[in-house]
C-alpha cells in the first residue's frame, strides 16, 4: 500500500487534496485495486471520529491504514473537484449527513445506517459527464490559446489545468 497515496486520500477526505493528490490516488487505484476497500474503510473511520452521520452505500471492505499526516490546505482546483466527484461516487464515500454532532447536544449516539445501493449512481454519471466536459475544456483551451497568440497580446503558458469553479447552475 502506497503511503503517499494514503496521505493523499486523507487530504482528500479533509477536502484539501491538490490535483497531484488526486492523480496519485487514481494511479494507486490502477496499481492496487485493494486500495478501494481500504480507503472506503478509512473514510468511515474518519467520518465517525469527526462526528458525522453516516450512510454506508459501499460494499464491505478490508482493514485500513491510518495516514500519518494531513497536507496543508490548498485551493481546490476545478479538475480536482471533478475528479473528486468521480472518486466520491465510485468509491461511494459514506458521509451523507455531514452535520457535526458536537453542535447537537441532544444527539446521544452516532447513527450508522447500512444501505445497499448500486455503486453506479446518478452522482457517478454526473461525475463522468463532468470529467468528459473538463477534458473537452482542456482541448478547447489549447485551441483558443493558439489562436489568441496570433491576434492578441495574451501570454501563452502551459500552466497545469487549475481551474477554480466559480459558479454552476
Amino acid at each position: 500500500m502506497n503511503k503517499k497515496a494514503n496521505e493523499s486520500f486523507s487530504a482528500f477526505l479533509d477536502g484539501e487534496a491538490s490535483e497531484l493528490d488526486v492523480q496519485r490516488m487514481l494511479k494507486e487505484l490502477d496499481n492496487n485495486p485493494e486500495a478501494f476497500g481500504q480507503w472506503h474503510s478509512l473514510s468511515k473511520v474518519k467520518a465517525v471520529t469527526q462526528g458525522d452521520v453516516l450512510v454506508d452505500a459501499a460494499p464491505k471492505m478490508a482493514s485500513v491504514e491510518q495516514p500519518e499526516e494531513v497536507k496543508a490546505p490548498v485551493v481546490k482546483s476545478w479538475r480536482a473537484r471533478i475528479i473528486q466527484g468521480s472518486i466520491a461516487a465510485g468509491v461511494a464515500l459514506v458521509v451523507v449527513g455531514s452535520f457535526n454532532l458536537m453542535q447537537q447536544e441532544q444527539a446521544p449516539e452516532i447513527p450508522v445506517v447500512q444501505v445497499d445501493v448500486p455503486v453506479q449512481t446518478n452522482q457517478t454519471l454526473l461525475a463522468e459527464q463532468q470529467l468528459e466536459a473538463q477534458e473537452r475544456l482542456e482541448f478547447y483551451l489549447r485551441e483558443h490559446a493558439e489562436q489568441a497568440s496570433f491576434t492578441s497580446g495574451h501570454v501563452v503558458v502551459p500552466a497545469e489545468f487549475n481551474w477554480q469553479e466559480v459558479a454552476g447552475e
Binding site: T151, S152, V156, G168
Partner: protein, 319 residues
C-alpha cells in the same frame, strides 16, 4: 503668402487638436515592432491567478526574421525555439508536462499587425506616468475598456518601446494576469550558441507548429450563428469539421488586444447544466442549449461570456 500662412495655421490647429491618445497609439505600434525586431535577452515572470511561472528568453532579429529561444525555468525545462513563424517545443525525457498544452509564447511575439483604428474604437489610451522596470524607464499606458472587455496596462521602454510589463485588469482594477521582465538586456549581442535549444537531440518529445497564412475567415456555411458581438470584435478564425468524433463549429474573435473563441457542437455531457470556470483573466463557460453544447473561452469578463453563450442560434445541423 496669405494662403500659405492660412494653411500653416490650419495644420497647426489640426495638429494641436489631435486626440490626446495619439501618441499612445504610436507607442503601441512601436512596441509591436520592438518585440519582434529588437535583440534582447532576459527573464520574465507570468502570474495568472494564483499561478506564477518564470521564463528566460533570448531574442535576435536577423535578416527580417525573429529567432527566439524561450525556456521554462520552473518545473520541467520546456524549451521553445521560434524561427520566423515556425515554433518547435522540446520536452525533456520523463517530462510530466503535457503535450496537450499550448506551446508557450511571449506577449505580442506572434502578432504581426496591430489594427490601431479598431483598437482605438474599443479602448481609451492614457499615459499614467513613468516607472522603472527591470532597470529600464518605462512609459505606463492604460488602455481603459468598456464592460465587455478587460482594461490593460502596458509598461513600454522609453527608448525602444519594448514591452517590459503588462497587466489585465477587471472592472475593479484588480490585476488578473501580469507579465513582467525581472531581468533584461536590450540591444544585447546574441551569440548563435544562446539560441541553441539545450534539449534538441536529447529531447524525448517535441511538437512543432507552423503558422499558415489564413484566408479571410468565413463562417457563412456554418449551422450556428452568433447573433451578438461586443463592439470592436471581428472574426479572425473559423473552423467547422469533425473533432474527437463530433462535428464542431469554432469561431475566434479579436478586438486587436484580446480575444475569445466560441465552440458549438451537438450533444455532450453536462446536460441542462451551465458551468463557469476561470484561470487568471481567462473565463470558460460551458452551457447546454437545446441539445447543443456551447463553450465560450476567452480573456473576457464573465458577463461577456455569459451573454455570448445565449446569443448562439443553431439552424440546421447536418451531422
Amino acid at each position: 503668402m496669405m494662403l500659405l500662412r492660412l494653411v500653416l495655421v490650419v495644420i497647426a490647429v489640426t495638429g494641436a487638436s489631435l486626440p490626446a491618445s495619439a501618441m499612445e497609439w504610436h507607442w503601441l505600434e512601436q512596441m509591436r515592432v520592438a518585440v519582434q525586431q529588437t535583440d534582447y535577452r532576459g527573464e520574465f515572470v507570468h502570474r495568472r491567478g494564483d499561478t506564477i511561472s518564470a521564463y528566460s528568453i533570448v531574442h535576435r532579429y536577423d535578416q527580417g526574421k525573429s529567432l527566439e529561444l524561450l525556456q521554462q525555468l520552473d518545473g520541467d525545462m520546456i524549451e521553445v525555439f521560434r524561427e520566423g513563424e515556425e515554433l518547435v517545443c522540446f520536452y525533456p525525457e520523463g517530462s510530466s508536462s503535457s503535450m496537450n498544452h499550448p506551446i508557450p509564447a511571449a506577449p505580442f511575439s506572434q502578432v504581426y499587425e496591430l489594427d490601431l483604428d479598431r483598437i482605438s474604437d474599443s479602448y481609451m489610451a492614457t499615459t499614467v506616468g513613468e516607472e522603472r522596470v527591470a532597470g529600464y524607464i518605462a512609459r505606463v499606458v492604460l488602455l481603459s475598456a468598456d464592460q465587455w472587455r478587460y482594461s490593460q496596462k502596458l509598461w513600454l521602454e522609453k527608448d525602444t518601446g519594448l514591452l517590459l510589463q503588462s497587466e489585465m485588469l477587471d472592472t475593479d482594477g484588480k490585476v488578473l494576469e501580469q507579465f513582467r521582465f525581472t531581468r533584461l538586456e536590450i540591444n544585447a549581442e546574441i551569440a548563435e550558441s544562446e539560441l541553441q535549444p539545450k534539449l534538441e537531440g536529447s529531447a524525448q518529445r517535441q511538437q512543432s507548429t507552423f503558422r499558415m497564412k489564413m484566408n479571410q475567415p468565413d463562417d457563412e456555411s456554418f449551422n450556428s450563428q452568433l447573433t451578438w458581438l461586443p463592439e470592436g470584435f471581428q472574426l479572425t478564425h473559423a473552423f467547422a469539421g469533425m473533432q474527437a468524433d463530433k462535428w464542431t463549429e469554432r469561431r475566434s474573435y479579436s478586438d486587436g488586444l484580446t480575444s475569445f473563441t466560441v465552440f458549438v457542437e451537438k450533444g455532450m455531457a453536462m446536460k441542462n447544466k451551465t458551468s463557469l470556470a476561470k484561470m487568471g483573466a481567462t473565463n470558460a463557460l460551458m452551457a447546454e442549449q437545446s441539445g447543443y453544447a456551447i463553450t465560450v473561452v476567452g480573456e473576457i469578463p464573465t458577463v461577456t461570456a455569459k451573454k455570448l453563450a445565449t446569443q448562439i442560434e443553431v439552424t440546421a445541423w447536418a451531422m
